[in-house]
């Protein structure tokens, strides 16, 4: 018998938001098909530094981030326990080197504390006391939240996909969607591998690839790709080094539970592309910067580097909304901090599908804000 090419909902894009949406929709009894052009987590999700944080400067992100951190501690078991999610809470440190950055961090922390997120401001002396191996030269201070941490972005995404499958969702990997299909202003499905698949609701969670797909039904998304680089070192003895982000040059580093370190650094000269590739100058720039902050790693070896795409919007905020094409909704444009919002993204997808009131007011993520000129900048982005 041939497979029925229809469902209640089709999801396009197998990153963490697509996989989490498939899981939460399938949990609610919705028949779901998810299409992914390669394997789950192969795009931006799996390539991210996978920091988990509640340090944001806008209320909606703080509220969603707080929910994410409520989910993560039990998520491995909730999703069936097959995958090791490597969840760890070693904290997240935002370091300021100018009075301007410090003022912004203080504002962010005030907002967070008002929402009962346990973040705090630390002096360089306090940083040195807690983490003697960190270099504090030129530091003015930092914002810190001890509850923030790390998760494995691949197993997180795959665990969502696997759990969704067990609930009846169909996960189609290596199945690129060529275009969305609509008629009379309504979505009716997608074309994948030359075949039509129909559904009255389609959710687009394809990160930077969402823009071209939305355009196939005349929807304009102001979401553009940006390539970012990371490196991983060989494993050293774990010493619970918090994720440390340096606001002077955008460099950051963190230790993972297996003892390896990730280093990353913003580079405005990187190509604006969703395709991966390797930038040779990244290695010199990032190692020079990070060694100043954690000189003890001088003799540790870099194992390899990779890159992945951000899906950037003009205000560095996500777009989560129904589009002018009836039945088509989007969740993309997270601008580099999307991986950790998987739990929120999944829950919102289910609530939006059923027309329920969302658990956090996401009006500010609406698609119409760009035309209205009502941008709301997220100050805490990297």
């Amino acid at each position: 018998m041939s497979e029925k090419r229809a469902a209640d909902a089709i999801i396009v894009g197998g990153g963490v938001h697509g996989a989490a949406a498939a899981y939460s929709l399938a949990s609610a009894g919705v028949s779901v098909i998810l299409f992914e052009r390669e394997y789950l987590s192969s795009g931006g999700s799996g390539r991210s530094a996978a920091g988990l944080r509640q340090h944001f400067g806008t209320e909606v992100n703080c509220r969603l981030a707080k929910y994410n951190l409520q989910c993560f501690p039990t998520l491995q078991e909730d999703l069936g326990g097959e995958f090791d999610l490597e969840f760890a809470q070693w904290g997240y440190l935002w370091v300021a080197y100018t009075e301007g950055s410090m003022d912004q961090l203080k504002k962010n922390v005030e907002l967070q504390r008002g929402l009962e997120i346990p973040s705090e401001i630390l002096s360089p002396q306090e940083i040195k006391r807690r983490w003697p191996y960190l270099g504090v030269e030129r530091m003015i201070g930092a914002a810190y939240c001890s509850r923030d941490g790390h998760i494995n972005p691949h197993t997180l995404t795959m665990a969502y996909g696997r759990a969704a499958e067990k609930l009846g969702a169909r996960i189609k990997t290596y199945s690129p969607v060529q275009r969305l299909l609509s008629s009379g202003g309504k979505i009716r499905g997608v074309e994948a591998a030359g075949e039509e698949w129909s559904a009255p609701r389609v959710l687009l969670t394809a990160g930077p690839w969402s823009t071209k797909l939305a355009a196939t039904v005349g929807v304009c998304l102001p979401v553009t790709p940006e390539r970012h680089n990371l490196l991983v070192t060989e494993a050293v003895e774990p010493f619970n080094c918090p994720m440390t982000l340096c606001l002077d040059d955008g460099a950051y580093f963190k230790q993972l539970p297996n003892g390896t370190f990730f280093f990353g650094r913003d580079d405005p000269d990187e190509p604006k592309t969703a395709e991966s590739g390797n930038s040779a100058k990244f290695l010199e720039g990032v190692t020079k910067s990070v060694l100043q902050r954690i000189p003890v790693l001088k003799g540790t070896r870099v194992a390899h580097q990779w890159s992945g795409p951000y899906d950037v919007t003009p205000d560095h905020q996500a777009v989560i909304d129904w589009t002018p094409v009836e039945g088509l909704w989007v969740n993309c444009g997270w601008s580099g901090h999307g991986l950790q919002f998987g739990p929120s993204g999944g829950r919102l997808a289910k609530e939006m599908f059923f027309g329920e009131k969302t658990f956090v007011d996401i009006h500010s993520f609406r698609l119409g804000r760009f035309e209205e000129g009502d941008l709301f900048m997220e100050p805490a982005f990297i």
């Binding site: 197993t155 001088k298 070896r301 870099v302 580097q305």
Partner: protein, 94 residues
């Protein structure tokens, strides 16, 4: 042969049994297994294990070995000390 203690990937200590189990669950690409098990993700990037995993994939899928996607190898090909990358042969600035 007893395969539960045959270590295929020495960097990440992944056994043949684990690889076969995950292939059995439908993860039939090298890069997928790498992301789930870390096989080939360590410092040697699969110099020792890649061929073994590809052979297992070929056997499980019935595809000829040369048709199996060998996955990605990333720079640097060999691990390099961070201090050397940052400052070349020079000492770090005081």
């Amino acid at each position: 042969m007893d395969t539960d203690d045959v270590v295929v990937c020495r960097c990440e200590e992944v056994t043949l049994d684990e690889i076969r189990a995950w292939i059995g669950r439908g993860y039939c690409h090298f890069d997928e297994l790498k992301r789930i098990l870390r096989v080939g993700m360590g410092p040697c990037q699969g110099r020792g294990c890649r061929d073994i995993v590809l052979r297992e994939l070929s056997r499980a899928t019935g595809e000829p070995l040369e048709a199996i996607d060998p996955g990605t190898v990333r720079p640097p090909v060999k691990p390099i000390k961070i201090g050397l990358l940052a400052y070349g042969g020079e000492d770090a600035p005081k």
